[in-house]
Amino acid sequence: MKPLVSAVRVGKSFGSVKALEDVTLDVMPTEVVCVIGPSGSGKTTFLRCINQLERIDAGAIWLDGELTGYRIVGDALHPLSEAEIAKQRRITGMVFQRFNLFPHMTALQNVTEGPIQVLKKPPQEARASAMALLERVGLSHKANVYPAELSGGQQQRVAIARSLAMQPKLMLFDEPTSALDAELVGEVLGVMRDLAQTGMTMIVVTHELGFAREVSDRVVFMDEGRVIEIDAPERLMKEPREARTRNFLKAVLSRS
């Protein structure tokens, strides 16, 4: 089986700051991978590089067998046009830490916007499948409500439905519960758990170690822009091989 995501020796710098260095990771179809690590470790940057919100400046990322962001001509990498990049982005869906719902649209309009405007689906059909998605995240009764009237947890669930409406092959979650009040974290993790069970391939940047342990197939520990350790969740959390992983886990677990 071919990997859905194949990142090879990826590097990214912001000015003189190296955000990512030599990151290599394969993610197989239906696999759920959680990325953990201290803040500033490059987890979020890595996620943003996968769907090209950031342009990488070393290495390469293949998505579903296709090189992202560049075309190989001879031994040079030619950057793709904005339109081509926009097309490649459709393979992935992204859920943001701060939801980023469109505030001037209702929950339903948020979900139908991509299918109607980008995929050119007939509005009737788009609305029907959007309602099914809202049903799936438990919010069909909030279809005609604006985001400002929803709780954080509800907004994030609408955001998940909005991403799913584009029928992505890969879902990226960027700390999806970090901006939520403690009592709302569960409902979002529940939706993500259901999604994982349907066989969706997912990369989740998270601080929820319990979720990582329970749902993910593998856990990646990153620090200072590098992948330090990749392992099955049980092993990585019970018997980490690297000192840095141990220190991080100790710090996180002692807090709770």
């Binding site: 869906g93 980023n100 209702t106 991509g114 604006y146 009237e149």
Partner: protein, 278 residues
């Protein structure tokens, strides 16, 4: 503490003596004003007579269509310039900056005169082999007004739109990209509609100002309502009466615009207004 029957106590309302004095003075001044104009040498019946005079109405129509056309030109140029100002390309950024600098930095009346006298610089305009005209035939007072006020308006609108674009959260660009939208599609569907919430109030203000500024075009011979009112009082000497006619129509149009602006603000406040009132 002495014995008080709380149930029997009455709560008196505070008295605003300063405010009451101000009300009395205001009413007095208003009465004096009305009295002065009633007894002053204004022939109100003449004002009434000219209110619907054909040349006055023709001037009103000219004022309105030129305002709308100039605003349309201004909005198109303004949006393009605002987008250019946010471009990563330094040439586009500087060009937009220079445009705003030039047109905001010189008086409108001067710009109108330059456009109207363009024939002095370029006697003929055209593309060799395609078309060729005498500039004086092309640049009529109306065309000079459209160019002058439209381009000037674009400079101001670009600043307003730029502020609107900046007010939209960066996450909105990223979210629209993440559902596969191109830059222009996300601008049209996601960013501009949200920017409009911030843009509409100053833009309405700008339109009202523009409507009145069109009266400046009378100096290059454009027949707006003020110009036509003047033409009439040059012959019959009813100066104030005809200025009152023009004032009346300006007030009518501005009132209609204000209603229209309130409707637009409601429209673009969707998703924001509802949360604020709750």
């Amino acid at each position: 503490m002495e014995e008080v029957d709380v149930a029997r106590l009455r709560h008196l309302r505070p008295r605003h003596y300063g405010r009451m004095t101000a009300v009395v003075v205001t009413l007095l001044l208003l009465a004096l004003l009305v009295d002065a104009f009633a007894r002053g040498k204004i022939d109100w019946s003449t004002t009434g007579e000219y209110l619907f005079w054909p040349t006055i109405l023709q001037g009103l129509v000219n004022t309105i269509w030129v305002s709308i056309a100039c605003m349309a030109i201004g909005i198109i140029i303004g949006v393009l310039c605002a987008v250019a100002r946010g471009s990563p390309n330094p040439v586009l950024r500087s060009a937009a900056l220079f445009y705003a600098w030039f047109f905001r930095g010189t008086p409108v009346i001067l710009q109108l005169l330059i456009w109207f006298n363009l024939a002095l610089v370029f006697p003929r305009i055209g593309i060799p082999g395609l078309f060729d005209f005498r500039t004086v035939d092309v640049i009529t007072p109306a065309v000079a007004t459209l160019l002058g006020l439209g381009l000037n308006e674009g400079a101001y609108v670009s600043e307003i739109v730029r502020a609107g674009l900046i007010s939209v959260d960066r996450g909105q660009y990223e979210a629209s990209k993440s559902i596969g939208m191109s830059y222009w599609l996300s601008l049209r569907r996601i960013i501009l509609p949200q920017a409009m919430r911030v843009v509409v109030p100053p833009l309405g203000n700008e339109f009202i100002a523009l409507l009145k500024i069109t009266s400046l075009a009378s100096i290059i011979g454009f027949s707006d309502i003020l110009r036509n009112a003047q033409d009439i009082y040059y012959t019959n000497a009813k100066v104030i009466e005809l200025l009152m006619v023009a004032a009346f129509w300006y007030l009518v149009v501005v009132s209609v615009l204000s209603v229209f602006q309130a409707m637009l603000e409601n429209r673009f406040g969707r998703g924001f207004a509802s949360s604020a009132t709750r």
